[in-house]
């Protein structure tokens, strides 16, 4: 049996070896073209001073405008994320090895989710603008789809990593698939789902530039405008404010997670 195991391992690493070599080659070539020498990094440090001096001190004149923009962005990110998370739950179940009805469904779902992720924000924004017009709705749906791709994958991975014990316990009572999902899979994966969803809200606030694409405003537009106009001091204000919101939501998230873990 030892022999057998070794043979199996050997075959696998042979196969993986080929792929591994290609990846290693690409990696090394990547390192080569990067020319990321320590001297370069070191000498670069010096040049940052000027850049930072433009950003510090932060310019607070428009802080109250920013505050409202962040609030609106947060609202839309929240709605979009909730939609995305709710859609992700069934999708993740269909995409996971251990909950999908069969391989075909699993592969189709998984590749679809990957495709949803591949299509850039901008394209989703276009699609939703065509469908329902400019405005917050298109932005929210774009955020929702973005989160579907993200949470769909992470929820699914979490589900696949669950200990089989509780699932087997419920299966053995004759519980239906739905019963098992509600009784064992969701409760066991819940802490992780909550954490991922909270991160998704945070991510959506930051990536809410998409709201600007579709004319819904929000902090993303403010930030990119500040950057384009080289108002680094204003940009810093925005970044700090977003960071405060993110940190606050991290606090809430930690509280919530501590209660559910």
């Amino acid at each position: 049996m030892g022999e057998q195991l070794r043979r199996r391992g050997g075959g696998a690493s042979g196969w993986g070896g080929g792929g591994g070599l290609i990846i290693l080659g690409l990696f090394l070539h990547g390192v080569y073209i990067a020319q990321l020498t320590p001297e370069r990094l070191l000498s670069g440090m010096g040049r940052l001073g000027g850049f930072l001096s433009q950003a510090i001190p932060p310019d607070l004149t428009r802080a109250s405008n920013f505050f409202w923009a962040i609030l609106v962005t947060f609202e839309m990110a929240l709605v979009g994320t909730v939609i995305g998370v709710l859609l992700s739950l069934p999708v993740a179940l269909l995409a996971s090895d251990n909950t999908s009805p069969n391989r075909l469904v699993r592969n189709i779902t998984r590749n679809t989710v990957a495709a949803v992720r591949t299509i850039p924000d901008l394209v989703w924004a276009l699609i939703f603008v065509v469908a329902i017009g400019l405005g917050p709705a298109a932005g929210i749906l774009t955020i929702a789809v973005d989160n579907l791709g993200f949470c769909g994958r992470f929820f699914s991975e979490r589900i696949e990593e669950l200990e089989p014990g509780p699932v087997e316990a419920l299966s053995s009572t004759g519980a239906s698939q739905l019963g098992i999902i509600l009784g064992a899979i969701f409760p066991c994966a819940f802490p992780s789902f909550v954490a991922t969803s909270l991160y998704a809200v945070e991510k959506s606030i930051r990536s809410a530039v998409v709201l600007g694409l579709v004319g819904a405003g929000g902090i993303g537009v403010e930030l990119s405008t500040s950057m384009r106009l080289f108002r680094y001091d204003q940009a810093l204000t925005i970044i700090v404010m977003i960071w405060l919101v993110v940190t606050a939501s991290e606090q809430v998230s930690t509280q919530i997670r501590r209660r559910v873990i």
């Binding site: 049996m1 087997e168 009572t173 004759g174 519980a175 239906s176 019963g179 098992i180 509600l182």
Partner: protein, 266 residues
Amino acid sequence: MIPLSINEVCKEFPDGTRALNGVSFTINPGEGTVLLGSNGSGKTTLLRCINGLETATSGQIYVDHIDVIEAKRRHARKALKRVRLQTGMVFQKFHLINNLGVLQNVLFGSLGRTQNPMKMFSIGAAKEERMRAMACLDRVGLADLAKRRADTLSGGQRQRVAIARVLMQDPQIVLADEPIASLDPKSGREVMDLLWEIVRERNLTVVCALHQLKIAQEYGDRLIGLRCGNVVMDTPADRIDADQLSHLYDDDQSQSVPAVPLEVTP
């Protein structure tokens, strides 16, 4: 009542480990059977094959006239569900849902019977189901802990919650994998009393893997001994002899060496 019949069942794991090597026996309704055998002899594997958690490699297992192995292989959900409704399992490692409450865990026992699983959550559960669950908890002596989270219980407490879950399921066959391994002697006996009480009362079938020979002889109607995935002993409990028993745990092939056919090794 439901007979359980096992015929020439083999199980080989993907890595080549052969856990069952042609196991056959038939259990009569209401028979309290104890499965003995050293570590790694295949007891857990056999129990898991009976309710289809593991797919046996060959052979037949009939529960309620349904061939479990066949049903499992054909993914026949309905057949499998019927089998599982009738077979309750107590796991060696409890397998509670750790971050839910004790009562909730017990309520899940009847998950197979409800059409609408939502009804099985403690908030939405019908009053009578909750009462039944409380009664089951009470029977294992844990009614006071109904609201605790499952992961704050001691090992023995968890095992009893797992048994309460099976009581809640109310199956025709009980498969118990070392149900008293982590119970103190008194509780262990109480649990065995409980299990056997139900067996007698409702004329159920029990297959119970045990390591405590004394308890096995005391409670079992019939003792089946496994060794390297083979049945090497199958007698009524009162006609057992010490020789046979000690042979069951003999060192040479059975325990430290895994149940692997010799020809696989180079």
